[in-house]
């Protein structure tokens, strides 16, 4: 690891005034960036430390925001919106009674990420802004497209964990497991710009597909700070669920994940459905076709199964990750049934 300076920020204003580079923009700065470019914001430091150890990120200064109280905590706003500060840890989100009651899928995702030790350090903001886990991206020996190189190693190499949807040009999967339920809850991001102005942005518009920009996963600009996530009010008649599958039972990245937010009426008709997938695409992925096939329908196991299958429409799996299709379909089906509080009576299509 390269030597670096550590600068603790004492106020949000101080961060807003500082010149710093978004982690999303850092990997393509080669060779080592100049002094001015090389200030990077550090929250929990989980992914940042990994990137620095791997020699991928070479900041000269870490601007430590982890002491900024304004960016911490979970609060209900007057209009029913829930504001979660970007520095709130995954452990706090998983344990929050408010989130567990109204936004169960988010609590589930936060509670199943990484390990207890990491959940106590890792922040919501860091989880959304972390860089992908593609092992070619993470290897300093592979100068891949996303790092400004001329070649994607994953397509011809080992892509067992890579994307099956929208994977043209670069087949990373977005690593944030919290983004999946946040997408299902139509979350908005609160972003601070230099000069202290803040604006809100739907999470759905935040992430960037490789076909739009190969080098970054989101639109956060250098100098901007992700301050909080806002969750719209959630009626008590809405139910959510989150399921993921990984090779190890704990401390592993999911092979696929599904988050579902449903509203059912008393006759068993689905009035509202929002379905999001993780670990299958370069961005948190909305299974729009599934939503269309659920909304307005009386849900039974058969209908849910066919709606789940539609969620992977348009998939372009690579030779070694076709298994992700049946896996994701099963997760959608199970997550919908769980959110609709229906029994999984007959299994899938068999």
């Amino acid at each position: 690891m390269e030597p670096f300076a550590w600068r603790p920020a004492r106020t949000v204003a101080e961060v807003a005034e500082a010149t710093h580079t978004a982690a999303a923009a850092m990997l393509t700065l080669q060779p080592r960036p100049s002094e001015g470019e090389a200030v990077v914001v550090k929250a929990g430091g989980v992914d940042l430390l990994d990137l620095m150890k791997e020699g991928l990120l070479l900041p000269r200064t870490l601007l430590d925001i982890s002491l900024l109280e304004e960016l911490k905590g979970i609060s209900a706003l007057e209009d029913g919106t829930l504001r979660i500060g970007a520095l709130t840890t995954l452990g706090e989100i998983a344990a929050s009674p408010l989130i567990r009651r109204r936004y169960a899928a988010l609590a589930e995702a936060a509670g199943s990420a990484a390990s207890p030790q990491i959940r106590n350090r890792a922040t919501l903001g860091g989880n959304l802004l972390q860089r992908p886990r593609c092992w070619y991206l993470r290897s300093s020996a592979h100068h891949c497209l996303r790092k400004g190189g001329g070649h994607c190693f994953a397509f011809s190499g080992d892509h067992r964990y890579h994307a099956v949807l929208a994977n043209h040009g670069c087949a990373i999967v977005h690593p944030s497991s919290l983004a999946t339920p946040l997408l299902a809850f139509r979350a908005e991001l609160e972003i601070l710009s230099s000069g202290g102005r803040s604006h809100r942005l739907p999470l759905e518009d935040f992430f960037v597909l490789p076909e739009a920009d190969l080098h970054r996963e989101n639109i956060l600009k250098s100098g901007e700070l992700l301050a909080a996530v806002h969750l719209p009010p959630q009626a008590s008649s809405r139910h959510s669920s989150y399921l993921e599958v990984s090779e190890r039972a704990a401390f592993d990245w999911p092979l696929a994940a599904a988050a579902v937010n449903l509203q059912m009426d008393t006759e068993g008709r689905c009035q509202y459905a929002r379905v999001a997938l993780g670990a299958v695409a370069p961005i948190p992925w909305r299974a729009v076709q599934t939503e269309v096939l659920l909304e307005g329908e009386i849900l039974d196991a058969g209908r849910v199964a066919s709606a789940a299958k539609a969620g992977l429409q348009g998939a372009t799996p690579l030779p070694h990750n076709t298994y992700k299709l049946p896996l994701a379909v099963a997760l959608i089906r199970r997550a919908v049934l769980a959110a609709a509080q229906l029994a999984d009576e007959e299994g899938g299509a068999h």
Binding site: W135, G157, G348
Partner: protein, 781 residues
């Protein structure tokens, strides 16, 4: 008849839970008299907590990575970025004059008949730097200029077998090639392309006639992956070369062996080299040799006159400190309707990268009775880092194939897998292990393959281990008794976490009538008599008999000292519970310290080395021998398979094992549990992944290289047999490797029972399970 000077003595014999008989052995006069079975002993066969547990969990234990010496330099290693390249030029000049650098060392040799040195895998050491700090050493590595000419390469076993594959070796004649185990560098085995073979040991009879006589044949190809040792403490050495000789601290499983290597390679007298290993954080076969990194540290210390520390980073550890070779095994078994085997044919191709010895073990040829066996084993060289022995080398890979094939045969014969094994397995010990295990596990509740309701299906399976009972003959210890009563046991034997220190205390305590914690351990240091290596499941078998002999000799000396005073015969004395007393008159007694105070000198000492097994050995070679009885072990597994997600969860494992006389059930159970967990990890998760196009390991960290975690741990149960054979002063043998060999096969057989499909390839990931299930549904009408 228990004659003190006699040659013929009776020992307990047989499986304790079935009732013991006796066996008569001829033993030498300096061997102690037989112990009764464990039920009659005070310390032996009791569950004693390990001696170093508190030190380890409180951080007090001192590992090699913790050693700090005054003026110590730090070494870093430049490694090959290419899987195959010629090195035309290596310029160390700029690195040598960099700030803080004290020495630089080339680690590549140019063969005399070649223009350039050759690199054969990513991560191969090229040069080393010793500097005042690790940061300075790493900084200096960047100043080393290497002129590479990259060459064509191949890292995949099956690709490397192709006729047009780039050759790893042009010939084997002049190369220094490391060995991953057996069959090693037997001469006269031809090399064609990258394929060297076949080694035919284990073959017998006439394979063609065998298959002609078969009424049922199973035939399948199994594949196993490369597994890394993943030691928590990386490979590490601190070397200090000074005028008087060489001192080395090393994370090793064989202090005495490393000393012998050092003395030989650096032309030093054995007595001027010392090697120490106090706590060792995992080894599993990968830390038995000095290796290039060890030579580099010693050489750098000699060059600078300062201690040099060389510790592998995690990625270096995963990439280049050894691994379990991969395999592709074509296994055919023929049998008659009654189950008797007529033919076994194994064609095994394994790759240990650039190393020899990637065999699939002797399990297919040695476990079951079969008159006609064809065992053809091939090494396939690839441009990958050298493999080395790993917990049950060969047989762990081999068991995955053999034990599934035997299960498949049983199904084709409409027999229970246990009944078929009763018919073809000559081991009476394993027969008993199957019987006990089946009853305890509830084997009778096992259903037909795939019978459970969709989607999460349960299944039960079992598999067996085979491993030789190894003994190291060059294994010795010294016992010292001080006049204040202190007892010390001294040996270079290292406790790498297997608990040998604890059983040494128990053995000595039993003989002297003391408590284990009263025995002081001085081990892991070659200043003491040379102990055995901690590999091949041989440590306990090799060092506990001489420890008992030395304790017995010390006791005799103390008895003689007392007998003079009490004017009795030494034979009339006994030691028990901290007292020495007259066997006929328990009132006449003296405490241990008071007895020691009667010694004529401050300290007396006894030395003993491993004598031959009383009934002889099956074979011996150099310092090593193989005992008459094999080590067995039968494991049962129950799994749950989610047929929609492909996730296999191992619910419980029952392991029934034997290791001669069990000395410490707590530690043995713990070691067996470790073997099972390592086996499940191998079965479901672990895989070294090399990129086909760059030769780099893609998962050289513990995020992407997946080890079994606490949440994956099933319910574990161990049944331990007491198997008395009357073969040595302790009659104890090892269990480390048998505990690992059967597990992956047992899990695979359980998965078959759950889903009705065979998993032919390790690891059994969700992707592979879903793939196999998709094939089965495509085959359905």
């Amino acid at each position: 008849m228990n004659d003190r000077d006699g040659r013929h003595t009776k020992f307990p014999h047989g499986l304790a839970h079935l009732g013991l008989d006796e066996v008569e052995r001829e033993i030498a006069p300096d061997e102690p008299p037989p112990w009764g079975p464990n039920a009659e002993l005070t310390q032996i066969g009791k569950s004693v907590p390990r001696w170093d547990a508190a030190a380890k969990v409180t951080g007090k234990a001192r590992y090699t990575v913790d050693v700090e010496l005054e003026g110590m330099l730090h070494a870093a290693v430049l490694r090959s970025p290419w899987p195959h390249a010629e090195v035309l030029d290596l310029d160390l000049g700029a690195a040598a004059t960099a700030p803080g650098v004290r020495a630089v060392l080339a680690l590549l040799d140019r063969p005399a008949d070649k223009e350039a040195a050759e690199l054969r895998y990513v991560g191969q050491p090229i040069a080393a730097v010793a500097a005042d700090s690790l940061a300075l050493a790493e900084e200096a590595l960047r100043l080393i200029r290497v002129e590479y000419v990259p060459q064509a390469f191949v890292v995949d076993l099956e690709e490397a077998m192709g006729t047009h594959a780039p050759a790893v070796y042009a010939s084997l004649a002049h190369e220094e090639i490391p060995s991953a185990g057996l069959p090693g560098r037997a001469s006269g085995i031809p090399l064609r392309g990258n394929v060297r073979g076949a080694d035919t040991q284990g073959s017998r009879g006439n394979i063609r006639e065998g298959f002609a006589a078969a009424e049922v044949i199973v035939d399948r190809t199994y594949r196993t992956q490369v597994q890394t040792h993943s030691c928590m403490e990386p490979h590490a050495i601190v070397a200090s070369w000074h005028e008087d000789g060489l001192e080395v601290w090393m994370s090793t499983q064989f202090t005495a062996g490393v000393r012998a290597q050092l003395a030989h390679e650096f032309q030093l007298p054995l007595a001027r080299v010392s090697v120490r290993a106090q706590a060792v954080g995992g080894a599993f076969g990968s830390k038995s040799q000095l290796r290039l990194y060890g030579r580099a540290a010693v050489t750098l210390s000699r060059m600078t006159g300062k201690p040099v520390r060389l510790v592998h980073r995690r990625d270096e550890e995963q990439m280049d400190t050894g691994n379990r070779p991969s395999s592709k095994q074509n296994l055919r078994i023929g049998a008659r309707r009654d189950g008797s085997l007529t033919a076994i044919s194994l064609h095994a191709y394994g790759s240990a990268g650039i190393a020899f010895g990637a065999w699939a073990g002797n399990i297919a040829s040695a476990m079951y009775s079969c008159p006609n066996v064809e065992s053809l084993q091939y090494d396939v060289f690839t441009h990958a880092s050298p493999g080395c022995p790993m917990r049950g080398p060969g047989n762990t890979q081999g068991a995955f194939a053999l034990e599934q094939a035997v299960d498949e045969l049983a199904e084709n014969l409409a027999m229970d897998p246990l009944i078929l094994r009763d018919r073809i397995d000559p081991s009476v010990v394993r027969r008993e292990e199957r019987r006990l295990g089946a009853a305890r596990f509830g084997w009778s509740r096992r259903h037909l393959p795939g019978a459970d309701a969709y989607p999460v299906k349960r299944g039960m399976g079992m598999a067996q281990s085979l491993w030789p009972a190894n003994v190291q003959l060059n294994a010795a210890c010294e016992l010292q008794l001080w006049r204040d009563g202190r007892v010390e046991i001294l040996s270079s034997v290292q406790d790498i976490g297997t608990g040998v220190g604890t059983v040494l205390r128990q053995v000595v305590a039993e003989e002297l009538g003391l408590e284990p914690q009263q025995i002081q351990l001085r081990i892991g240091d070659t200043e003491f008599p040379s102990g055995p290596p901690s590999y091949g499941s041989r440590t306990t078998a090799s060092i506990t008999p001489p420890a008992r002999s030395a304790a017995w000799q010390i006791k005799q000396a103390l008895f003689r000292s007392l007998a003079d005073r009490w004017q009795v015969e030494p034979e009339a004395l006994a030691a028990h519970n901290g007292w020495i007393y007259l066997a006929q008159d328990h009132e006449r007694r003296i405490s241990w310290p008071d007895a020691a105070a009667t010694l004529r000198t401050d300290r007396i000492s006894a030395f003993a080395s491993r004598s031959d097994d009383y009934a002889g050995f099956r074979s011996r070679s150099g310092d090593a021998a193989i005992a008459l009885n094999d080590l067995g072990g039968v494991q049962f597994a129950e799994v749950e398979v989610d047929t929609e997600t492909g996730v296999i969860r191992v619910v419980r494992v029952l392991a029934v094992h034997d290791c001669g006389r069990p000395l410490n059930p707590l530690q043995i159970e713990s070691q067996i549990q470790g073997g099972i967990l390592m086996g499940i990890s191998y079965a479901l998760l672990e895989e070294r992944i090399l990129d086909r196009h760059t030769g780099w390991m893609l998962n050289p960290n513990f995020v992407d290289y997946k080890l079994l975690g606490a949440a994956d741990t099933p319910q574990l149960e161990v049944i331990l047999l007491e198997n008395y054979q009357g073969l040595s002063a302790t009659d104890a043998y090892g269990v480390a490797e048998p505990a690992n060999i059967a597990t992956a096969a047992a899990v695979a057989n359980a998965v078959y029972n759950a889903i009705g499909m065979r998993m032919e390839t390790l690891p059994m990931t969700p992707a592979k399970v879903l793939d196999v299930l998709a094939q089965s549904s495509r085959r359905r009408p």
